[in-house]
């Protein structure tokens, strides 16, 4: 651990490159601004007629370009004062393993693959119940001023501290209380995250032999790849991944055959059976050696992730689908939406976390990525640019959800118990909401993707899969390929999620062992098998509990759990932004601290309002405790059913669930307040001390290397590269 040192004199920092824009640049950026302005005008102002999804994509891309060019540059050079003459941890501590200067393009890929998973695909789909505009606005504005800023600033400060984790930085720069609260928050969030993601998979796979077979096959495929890499061809990662992807596609096709064969019943599982399978899988996968399952899964999902994102972007740009949702539905204002309860503010900002602002990213931006970055100025493309890319994925998910028939959207996403057992009852439930879809249309939609039914398939993944299959089959293969693309989309989401479940359980296990190891040394030994098994079992049991409860929830699980996950994720963002603000103030940059204070304030207002409503709201649809009282009162009055809870047992279940959820929401809010108050103490201390306090920044070491800043080298940078190559060739060392 380093001792506190004062910030080095700013004189060592390179002056921000300030050049006048050439007329050509002015023309280009003028055109980009114009495209952005027109697109925003179209999506914000046109009412009563359907617009093309292209406008959403244009508005997003133009806004990202302007933000990256101007705002990210301002933050990097004026606020953070990145200094390319300063050696990064990768250069100073290079050990060829975790500290290693990595090509910025490769690191961009790694960072993106680490931050983006199923999150940006699920949140926007659920938020589409309020119409396309709330989600679009928050995803684009949120990423520019909050999410990408958080990712880049955390990356910067961790890079200046040898790649320290967020928890360590909170402890060192705020204090032990803030640090402990941050650690507890991380562990709690991990558990909720794993439960919610696993619930998405269960909802996508229950009663679907095709999906279940394909996903089940990923396990033998990963095992095969693991053995192949270990014993047959060590180190041939690309070759192994190519074989894996081919087998994966075969598994999707094979799922179609299985669904029509005698094996179909074997792979038709109930929600409960899938939960048991997932819990067993999660436990086994987290104690098996990494080479068998986790490493090959990682290879597969990294390739699939990048491949699918590119495929979907290309398909949207080629197909120009039409948005069929309204800009705002009534649910945006009355808070009575069936997918999740609560009105636009604050719940859109809770439901869409990944893609706009995701606290989880701060764990990737501190830790792995900062140890591999070559040049300080590259934080702009990796931190800010990586998050913009994730945001773009979220926009595409939103598009996929908004191009499907709103009637079908609600039939898929309403809680199962509210939809009833038949297509007729589902159709009636949707009509009650003010949308229309006939039982025949529901049957036809299920038939087109070769599923028994699409009704009540909440969780986001199936909706996205339907949207993707419409877009992709429009370009590749036509209607005959709809079922293939649907299951392709399900497969790739489930693949990410299972990888996250596996890796997350492992991380949770390590954190638990580390914590317990402080009081009982033996438990902290990660090679002591009983300790490993016990810690894994505890972590799996924790998320397994929420998963089990979510699947059996009489009120529908995802609509109860997802807001909790969003609150937890945004809470972590509040902690990350608080750490950033603290560091900006302590290092004498209080006048620039608004860069993180603005998103922090917004995030805290949103999170605390949402927690407040979840805890104290009188509306039983929104407030957990109000809901608890409603069911408890009904039980006390001797009623045997209430709403979608049809038996006293189910009612007691609701009472228990709402208690747990309510306590958790309150607990999360208290954690944020603790961190904030503790940090505010440090801010005041720093400002009173004349604007600076010592921080734990590593001392300046001069860099001896050079590398371009952006993804693509500029003409000037190429010239420097040529000269340097020439020098090296002329004077070999």
């Amino acid at each position: 651990m380093s001792t506190p040192t004062a910030d080095p004199a700013p004189a060592t920092a390179a002056p921000p490159p300030r050049r006048r824009m050439t007329p050509k640049q002015i023309a280009v950026w003028g055109a980009v601004s114009l495209i952005g302005a027109v697109s925003w005008a179209v999506i914000a102002l046109i009412r009563g007629e359907e617009i093309s999804a292209a406008w959403l994509v244009f508005a997003a891309v133009a806004s990202y370009a302007i933000a990256y060019r101007f705002y990210a540059r301002f933050i990097a050079y004026r606020v953070l004062r990145v200094d390319d003459t300063r050696a990064t941890p990768a250069e100073r501590l290079d050990n060829g393993v975790d500290y290693h200067p990595t090509d910025r393009r490769v690191l961009f890929g790694h960072h993106f693959a680490a931050i983006a998973g199923a999150g940006p695909l699920v949140g926007p789909v659920l938020a589409a119940q309020m119409g396309y505009l709330p989600g679009t606005l928050w995803i684009i504005v949120g990423v520019i001023f909050a999410g990408a800023v958080q990712d880049m600033v955390v990356l910067f400060f961790s890079m200046r501290r040898g790649g320290r984790s967020l928890g360590q930085m909170a402890r060192e720069e705020i204090g032990p209380v803030g640090g402990a609260a941050a650690l507890v928050a991380v562990l709690a969030i991990m558990i909720i995250l794993l439960a919610v993601l696993a619930l998405v998979v269960v909802n996508a796979l229950k009663g679907s032999p095709w999906g279940t077979f394909s996903i089940a096959m990923t396990i033998p495929i990963a095992l095969f790849m693991g053995f192949y890499l270990r014993y047959l061809r060590p180190g041939r990662v690309v070759e192994t991944s190519a074989i894996g992807v081919a087998l994966l596609l075969l598994a999707i096709v094979g799922g179609g055959w299985v669904a029509e064969s005698a094996l179909a019943d074997t792979f038709t599982l109930s929600g409960e059976a899938l939960v048991i399978a997932l819990v067993v899988y999660g436990f086994v996968a987290s104690v098996l050696p990494v080479w068998m399952l986790l490493a090959p899964r990682d290879y597969l999902s990294a390739f699939m992730k990048v491949g699918v994102v590119v495929l979907l972007a290309a398909a949207i740009l080629l197909a120009w689908p039409t948005v069929r949702t309204e800009a705002f539905t009534d649910f945006a204002f009355n808070g009575q939406g069936p997918v999740f309860a609560g009105s636009l503010f604050p719940f859109v900002f809770i439901i869409i976390a990944c893609g706009a602002l995701s606290g989880f990213h701060s764990l990737i931006s501190s830790g792995t990525t900062p140890k591999m970055i070559m040049k300080e100025s590259q934080i702009r493309v990796i931190g800010y640019g990586g998050m913009l890319t994730e945001s773009f994925v979220a926009i595409m998910a939103l598009v996929a959800a908004c191009i499907i028939d709103p009637g079908l959207y609600f039939a898929m996403n309403m809680p199962g118990p509210a939809l009833g057992p038949t297509l007729e009852s589902a159709s009636a439930a949707v009509t009650n909401l003010g949308f229309t879809i006939t039982p025949d249309q529901l049957a036809a939609a299920a038939r087109s993707v070769e599923e028994a039914t699409l009704v009540g398939r909440s969780g986001g993944a199936p909706t996205l899969a339907v949207g993707m299959s419409e877009i992709l089959s429009d370009i590749f293969g036509g209607d005959a390929f709809k079922a293939f693309w649907y299951h392709f989309a399900i497969m790739f989401e489930a693949l990410f999620i299972l990888t996250t479940v596996d890796a997350g359980t492992r991380v949770g296990r390590f954190m638990l062992q580390d914590t317990v190891g402080n009081v009982w040394k033996k438990a902290g030994d990660v090679s002591w098998k009983p300790g490993v098994y016990a810690a894994s079992a505890i972590v799996v049991a924790a998320w397994g509990y929420f998963l089990w409860v979510g699947v059996r929830d009489p009120l529908g699980g995802i609509n109860q759990l997802f807001p909790l996950f969003g609150i937890a994720n945004q809470l972590l963002a509040a902690i990350a932004l608080t750490v950033c603000t603290t560091l900006l103030i302590k290092s004498g940059r209080a006048k620039w601290a608004w860069v993180t204070i603005v998103p922090l304030t917004w995030d805290v207002v949103v999170t605390l309002t949402a927690s407040w409503q979840k805890v104290f709201s009188d509306d039983p649809k929104v407030g957990f405790f109000a809901q608890r009282e409603q069911f408890q009162a009904a039980l006390d009055a001797g009623k045997t059913s209430l709403g979608t809870a049809k038996t006293p047992d189910e009612m007691r279940q609701v009472v228990l669930n709402t208690t747990v959820d309510g306590v958790l929401a309150a607990f999360f809010a208290v954690l944020v307040i603790i961190v904030l108050v503790d940090a505010a103490r440090v801010w005041i201390k720093a400002l009173r001390a004349g604007g600076t306090l010592p921080t734990h920044e590593d001392p300046y070491v001069k860099s001896t290397t050079w590398a371009p800043s952006g993804l693509v080298a500029t003409a000037e940078e190429r010239q420097i590269m040529k000269e340097r190559a020439h020098e090296e060739a002329g004077a070999p060392s």
Binding site: D94, H100, A114, G235, V238, V290, W291, C354, R509
Partner: protein, 78 residues
């Protein structure tokens, strides 16, 4: 048209050479992204910082490389 016309074959050759160079770079980046260059990186690092010391064989290295993740789990996000 003031520039002297170049022989067509030479220009095409240059384009081909540049294209081959681009493809080589892309392949290298893909291999590095996938993690396949880990052994090469280890060798480069070893030669630069610990010249003369014995190096792990390829098989030995990969075992060590993947098993090290058993002790250092990496979180992926949502």
């Amino acid at each position: 048209m003031t520039a002297p016309p170049r022989p067509l074959g030479q220009a095409a050759g240059q384009v081909r050479a540049r294209l081959a160079e681009r493809l080589r770079t892309a392949w290298l980046l893909l291999r590095e992204f996938s993690g396949e260059r880990a052994y090469e990186i280890y060798l480069e690092h070893h030669h630069r910082h610990h010249p003369g010391e014995p190096v792990m064989s390829e098989r030995e290295f990969w075992r060590h490389h993947i098993d090290s993740r058993d002790r250092n789990p990496r979180a992926t996000c949502c």
